[in-house]
């Protein structure tokens, strides 16, 4: 096993003395019903090897046919990433031997990808926009799934044998390859993370994939190299494979920068190799060294004819593209009148969809933001869950706010109502009734409490009568306390002053 305790240079020091360059390959599994080259189901979670055909098993004589929907999705992705869509392109065989590739080659695209030369703007958490150039996006197929049995950790090392399930073999993939990402400097890890996140959001908006990271629908290979300065030639890169969460992408880049800096500081050369990321330690370890043994002997796939998307078809797809996440954010910010910083906080908190739904349910944008970014964000943080997991719906928040707006509850009561909803006591309406939380608007009941408070604090009454309105708060406070906060404070004040001065 390769060492996990490699020498590391302190990150800040590493990026002060070296300029990192990234290259990121993102694979996305398309959400088509069937596989790329055959009609086997492409859904997730079926019993092993129940979703195969002779094509996805690589049986001799089986002939592939391209899934037209997958081509459409690939074009959608290409257009959303501002790519050129090839007038004609073809598939190629990438030959290698591994049990999860039953044909002994992966059907991919090589010299003729379907989309090329694009870009995407990536927004960092502080609002900085970083443009990432896209070299290409090509179509290919996923491999089967290996389970390693007998090793201590379930990883390959120490495994006695492997079990292979080909349900995933042949599921359509689009691989998106960036050009070298330069100029990110110390923010390289953040840029890498934001890039992958941006793509994930775009895939979802395009409805080409469920894009669930935890299911491996989106996987990233991260290339990192260092050079002494931005005008020096590119350094030797490593490729950290299959980094499958946003956080891991950030950590893997950060780790590689610190590790490579240590290698270079020691006067050694970075080895061009693939590396594995370890979730538990946040480190990478050496995988296989790239050598000329890794010759994929690409050649054009003779069993598939070229794909030549007509310009009419491409324009049709372009015209039907949905609103993309960045445009949507700009539109909603305009509609809601949020300041830049407010909008960023909302986006970073993952509250955008929730607030949109709350506004749609009738709440004002300001009120929706107040609830989700205030009370509910605190609740989520305390419970260590995401905002989406909080047990309240946007419609319930809108109802809660409408109760406040109608004067039936005040802010303090609203928080108690919220507690009730979160505790599963029903809609805000029901909680108000069940807990008896409505504002006391009956003057009779209030006056009794007011009189009681006045009688208890004759000195205050004297002062107020003498023209000093300052201490009146003490009386109001007492009334609020006596009514358990269910009084309308403004009305209480009116009644108190009437009583004293009247």
């Amino acid at each position: 096993m390769t060492t996990l305790t490699a020498d590391l240079v302190d990150y800040a020091d590493a990026v002060r003395r070296y300029d990192p360059v990234l290259g990121i390959e993102v694979h996305v599994e398309l959400g088509t019903r069937t596989k790329m080259f055959d009609g086997a189901e492409a859904s997730f979670g079926a019993d092993p090897n129940t979703q195969t055909t002779p094509v996805s098993l690589g049986l001799p004589g089986a002939l592939p046919v391209v899934n037209g929907k997958a081509v459409e999705y690939a074009i959608r992705i290409g257009l959303a990433l501002n790519c050129e869509i090839a007038e004609t392109c073809r598939f190629a065989r990438k030959n290698y031997f591994y049990p999860d590739v039953p044909k002994n080659f992966q059907t991919s695209q090589y010299d003729e990808p379907i989309a090329h030369d694009g870009w995407v703007d990536v927004e960092l958490e502080d609002g900085t926009v970083f443009r990432v150039e896209i070299e290409r996006a090509h179509m290919e197929e996923d491999a089967g799934k290996n389970t390693h049995v007998g090793g201590a950790t379930g990883r390959i090392h120490g495994a006695e044998y492997s079990l292979v399930d080909y349900n995933r073999a042949g599921i359509p993939l689009v691989e998106i390859v960036t050009r070298p990402i330069e100029g990110a400097g110390e923010r390289a890890p953040e840029v890498a993370r934001a890039y992958v996140q941006t793509l994930r959001d775009i895939f979802r908006a395009l409805e080409v994939s469920e894009a669930r990271m935890e299911r491996g629908n989106v996987r990233a290979d991260v290339n990192v190299s260092l050079r002494p300065s931005p005008d020096a030639p590119l350094g030797t890169r490593t490729e950290t494979k299959n980094v499958n969460s946003f956080r891991s992408v950030e950590r893997a880049v950060r780790y590689e920068i610190s590790r490579q800096a240590a290698v270079l500081d020691a006067g050694a050369a970075v080895v061009q190799e693939t590396r594995h990321f370890h979730e538990d330690t946040g480190s990478t370890s050496s995988g296989r060294v790239k050598s000329d043994a890794e010759d994929y002997r690409y050649f054009p796939e003779p069993d598939l004819v070229p794909v030549a998307p007509s310009r009419e078809w491409v324009e049709e797809i372009r015209a039907a593209l949905p609103e993309l996440p960045a445009a949507r954010r700009r539109r909603l910010q305009g509609e809601w009148g949020y300041a830049d910083a407010e909008m960023r906080d909302v986006v970073n908190a993952g509250a955008l969809d929730l607030i949109e739904a709350t506004v749609a349910a009738g709440a004002s944008p300001a009120a929706a933001r107040k609830w989700w970014m205030g009370e509910l964000a605190r609740h989520a943080k305390q419970a260590e869950i995401s905002l989406e997991e909080v047990a309240i719906t946007p419609a319930q928040i809108a109802q809660l706010q409408s109760l406040v707006d109608a004067g039936r509850i005040n802010d303090k009561l609203a928080r108690q109502v919220l507690e009730g909803v979160l505790a599963g006591e029903g809609d805000p309406e029901q909680v108000v009734v069940a807990r008896g939380l409505e504002v006391v608007s009956d003057d009779g009941a209030l006056l009794a409490a007011v009189d009681e408070a006045l009688a208890a604090q004759p000195d205050v009454v004297e002062k107020v009568r003498g023209g000093n309105l300052g201490p009146v708060g003490a009386i109001i406070g007492a009334v609020m306390k006596a009514t358990k906060g269910q009084a309308d404070a403004k009305r209480v004040r009116e009644l108190v002053l009437e009583r004293i001065q009247g």
């Binding site: 391209v66 290996n146 390959i156 292979v164």
Partner: protein, 98 residues
């Protein structure tokens, strides 16, 4: 003019996981040479403006509808497997890596 060396044959054979004896390597180097020479003759005739042909048929965009077909029964899938476990193919320990 010999263009295919013994080493090259051995390398390509290794890449393709074909186990060749030394005498087979020698024989194939000669035979492949003949093929490469023949192709070279074609290249002499084909001017640069003739595009390389990967598909002899003038066809494009042969697509399938995205409609599922029933999967093969698992018993059929496993029929050719030398070994299996829990409906999955059992393969020897993998020495490479993912």
């Amino acid at each position: 003019m010999s263009t295919i060396s013994r080493d090259e044959v051995a390398r390509v054979a290794a890449l393709a996981r074909i186990d060749l004896r030394p005498d087979e390597v020698d024989r194939l180097a000669g035979e492949l040479d003949v093929i490469v020479d023949a192709i070279a003759r074609v290249s002499e005739v084909a001017t640069p403006d003739v595009p390389a042909t990967s598909h002899p048929l003038p066809m494009t965009n042969v697509f399938r509808e995205d409609v599922p077909v029933p999967g093969l029964p698992v018993d059929d899938v496993m029929a050719g497997a030398p070994a299996s476990e829990d409906g999955r193919f059992l393969v020897p320990q993998i020495l490479g890596e993912e």
